[in-house]
Symmetry: C2
Subunit: 349 residues, 2 copies
DNA sequence: CGCATTTGTCGAAACGTTTCGACTATGCGT
DNA sequence: ACGCATAGTCGAAACGTTTCGACAAATGCG
């Protein structure tokens, strides 16, 4: 396997000269450069990543830190991972995947001490996140997907949850709906300070307050059955509900089943808008869902770029980015139904 | 940051001794070992991954090679990636993600020459895969998810497509269905030699031949609209069809729409079994799908373990693994409908 | 024309490990 | 008592880069 020394020999120069030519660290005459690159070409030389990293103290590897839940990542996170990998590659970095045990802070410390990676992108940041505190304390470079408390000087990229909820409610209100509920993710996630759950909840409350409406919301585990039960519970308590906003994509099938079991159809009898989800999910349901779609790909990319900018000492264009979601109207939302008339019709029909 | 030299000083031994103690490369007296580990503890020392890799010529990093398609990975692949990362971690390896351009072989060669990784796990292997040929030629260690031609001595893990298709057909036959079609993935994938598409096709043909039935199958792009059209085309040509087997999960919603638009219901008027998919997908549809579910998590793990065994010179328990899929009966399959009677009823009703 | 700067290059010292050969005790068989 | 393997340790040479200081030649400037 060719090494830098063999290249230097063949080109008739010192190894340091080869290094300068390769990295542009110092000026090199055009003629020498030519000779060097020719030698490189002929030998098929590629710098040894580890040696380079050891000498330069920069491995050009970054890690993506993702939570090690039992049921793997959600859909949204997938596009995320691939786009992060692509973004890293475009910047000549490698991306390593570190799953972490949420409760084992020490593991994370160990990992950073190995000096394998120059920095980490932390996924699923919580409101008070011990990991962030630690990284900060040991001054290890990082960027975040999501936000946490006291983050004024930290780089992050997140979804603009507040605006997204507002857009969802506005869409429904535009169709005449007034009795709207919010179906959150699990109470556990909320109480753990999971950003999306906390922020959407707060946003919904505020928006309803602005509209002088009661804020009806409910937690729901991220699974079919929980969605089914949650919908029924919600309608038992608030029979006048005509629409739901939710970020709980896994519960949606359950909700649809429950609606179906009432002999209602979507969107004639009930409207549903799912926020922060993807087109693929939306099109998988029947009927196809009206959504507010996040550009998750963009998030992975931005998270990586934020980190790399920081590593290279480049000032980022924006240290903190809030991404909007795009409203895509499909077939799960429609005008507010007239339940009284519907009932009368059913009786006469 | 503490280094091996500082540990050696504090313990009053040579650096090489520390190395031996750490790796068990040579015998160390119990007493010295104690002193060394105490020093390590006190200093909070962790070996420098790059230095270790450089000196030992083994980075303990492996790469997962995934295709860089525009629409990102499918759902199935997600669990896959996370389980691979976990398996690597459990074996004290790091996993880096390399997306590759299918057409750029040179890029792959470059990557391997960087000597960053000890080996690669190749995803989505094709029947005649140039990448595999290259890796083989340069004798770079690898394992495969999927199979390719001439792979007798290569390690791989794949799904037992043939058995899976058989199980699907048997399930439908058990319900009385005889007119069954297979909805494949895109013709492009098939012609590119994409293993799953090729193998399921072949299996279906053979099984139908065994049953003395015509083998009706059709290619279909992996998207909603294509599923819709494919179903209609299929039923125009073969009006007696009562069931479909498919591995094209993205087309399924389209198929369901098309069925719905005929005023048919699933499973009363038509049965559908989706193979090599996941529970999450199955539960997302209405009605929940009868599936043959792959343990994708197991695949990622196995692929990684296969590679690591090879790297460590351990003989693998099994060099080649075929994973079965499990039949999960939900609500998209039912007894063969009696179309004639149904029609008569409709006329009289 | 002389002096300071810049350009282009070199050699050597890092970077933090592993590994090899060599050396001293120690215990063994004879 | 004598050689001999073995346990336990050391020092030094890798591994393949980057980076620093030095230096000669070329260039600019008053």
């Amino acid at each position: 396997m060719p090494t830098m020394t063999s290249v230097a020999k063949r080109a008739g120069v010192a190894v340091s000269t080869v290094s300068y030519a390769l990295n542009g660290t110092r000026p090199i005459s055009e003629e020498t450069r030519q000779r060097i690159f020719q030698a490189i070409e002929e030998l098929g030389y590629k710098p040894h990543a580890l040696a380079r990293g050891l000498a330069s103290k920069r491995s050009r590897i970054i890690a993506l830190l993702f939570p090690n839940t039992d049921r793997g990542l959600g859909f949204t996170e997938l596009e995320f991972v691939t786009s992060a990998a692509n973004a890293a590659k475009e910047n000549q970095y490698s991306l390593v995947l570190w799953s972490y045990d949420v409760h084992d802070l020490d593991e994370l410390r160990q990992l950073t001490q190995q000096r394998l990676v120059d920095g980490v992108v932390v996924m699923e940041v919580h409101e008070n996140d011990a990991r962030i505190d630690m990284l900060r304390q040991i001054e290890f470079p990082f960027s975040m997907i999501g936000r946490c408390a006291g983050m004024d000087d930290l780089g992050y990229v997140d979804i603009d949850f507040s605006q997204t909820v507002r857009d969802a409610v506005d869409h429904l209100a535009g169709l005449g709906h007034t009795e709207i509920a919010f179906l959150n993710q699990s109470r556990a996630a909320f109480e753990a300070g999971y950003g999306p759950a906390v922020r959407t909840h707060a946003a919904f409350e505020q928006i309803m307050a602005e509209r002088d409406h009661e804020s009806i919301s409910r937690f729901c585990r991220t699974e079919l059955r929980a969605g089914y039960d949650a919908f029924n519970a919600l309608l038992d308590e608030h029979p006048d509900l005509t629409a739901i906003v939710t970020m709980n994509e896994r519960a949606v099938p359950g909700v649809l089943h429950a609606i179906h079991d009432r002999n209602w159809t979507v969107p004639d009898d009930f409207s549903l808008v799912v926020i922060v989800t993807s087109r693929t999910i939306a099109e998988m349901m029947i009927p196809p869902l009206t959504t507010l779609e996040a550009e998750t790909g963009g998030m992975g990319r931005l998270g990586v770029e934020l980190l790399i900018n920081q590593l290279e000492g480049r000032p980022p264009e924006q240290l903190q980015v809030l991404l909007p979601c795009r409203l895509v109207v499909r077939h799960s939302t429609g005008p507010k139904p007239d339940r009284a008339r519907a009932k009368a019709q059913a009786r006469s029909g």
